[in-house]
């Protein structure tokens, strides 16, 4: 932390995602804002709790409901240096889901010879609470 960019210091931003995709517009709006915010070179983390874990589930097929499937866009986040996607284990468990049901999202680590590494980090509810305490700004969707 503390590295300066044009016009100010870097802050820690957490985008808190609690809604399933498609039933409401929250999930899509969050992703749009995250992509816009990526241009400002802040320290960005995404949290997926409650029904928000469904946003990054594998195998989404929206042809039957006539809506755009925006889940492939999550694959692009790594290219914008957004590679901290925290998923709460308790939220997965309650919904009968496991980490294997999630999309295999990765990023290339420029500090490690561009090695491909997983962006998703499954954490406990307690760890998620600690993560929230560690932020400067929390944006809820």
């Amino acid at each position: 932390m503390g590295d300066m960019n044009e016009g100010g210091s870097t802050k820690k931003f957490l985008y808190l995602n609690r809604k399933a995709p498609y039933g409401t517009v929250y999930a899509l709006e969050s992703l749009e804002v995250v992509l816009i915010a990526a241009a400002f070179e802040q320290d960005v983390s995404l949290a997926f709790i409650d029904d928000g874990v469904y946003q990054i589930i594998q195998g989404q097929d929206t042809t039957g409901i006539g809506m755009k499937n925006f889940s492939p866009t999550f694959n692009a986040l790594g290219d914008y240096d957004i590679n901290k996607l925290y998923v709460e284990k308790e939220s997965l468990d309650e919904r009968g889901l496991t980490e294997d049901d999630l999309m295999p999202l990765v990023y290339e680590d420029e500090d490690d010879d561009w090695a491909e590494k997983p962006s998703i980090r499954v954490v406990s509810r307690a760890e998620m609470a600690d993560l929230m305490q560690d932020q400067d700004v929390i944006l809820s969707f």
Binding site: K19, A20, P21, Y22, G23, T24, D50, D51, Y54, I57, Q58, G59, Q60, D61, T62, T63, G64, I65, M67, N69, E94, R95, G96, L97, D101
Partner: protein
């Protein structure tokens, strides 16, 4: 008299499903649509409530396939006894029952 109940909210988001299941009678049908299909995933706490409702109140429970697919829920991951249907099946259920009650 039989009713087709539709639930379009996740059981983790609102109490629509719980309230609906508390107001059904044997022979009624419950159709999960939109975010409501999240409750039908096998191994989930909401799915246990669906299984209990089918066993105890004798309601039939359905989930709309297109909404399941959008949320990455394959048919083989549905709670046992919950039937996946398409839009035509939705129309059939609406026609077969005397009334449609939406739990918004």
């Amino acid at each position: 008299m039989s009713i087709l109940h539709t639930v379009n909210k996740s059981a983790y988001e609102r109490n629509a499903l719980e309230s609906c299941l508390g107001h059904t009678r044997p022979g009624d049908a419950v159709l999960l649509i939109e975010d409501g299909v999240i409750s039908a995933r096998a191994g989930s706490t909401a799915g246990e409530k669906l299984a209990a409702a089918m066993a105890e109140t004798g309601v039939s429970i359905y989930a709309l396939g297109a909404d399941m697919a959008a949320r990455g829920i394959p048919e083989d991951k549905l709670v046992d006894g919950v039937k996946a249907i398409d839009y035509a099946g939705f129309v059939d259920l609406a026609a077969e029952n005397d009334a449609v009650e939406a739990w918004l």
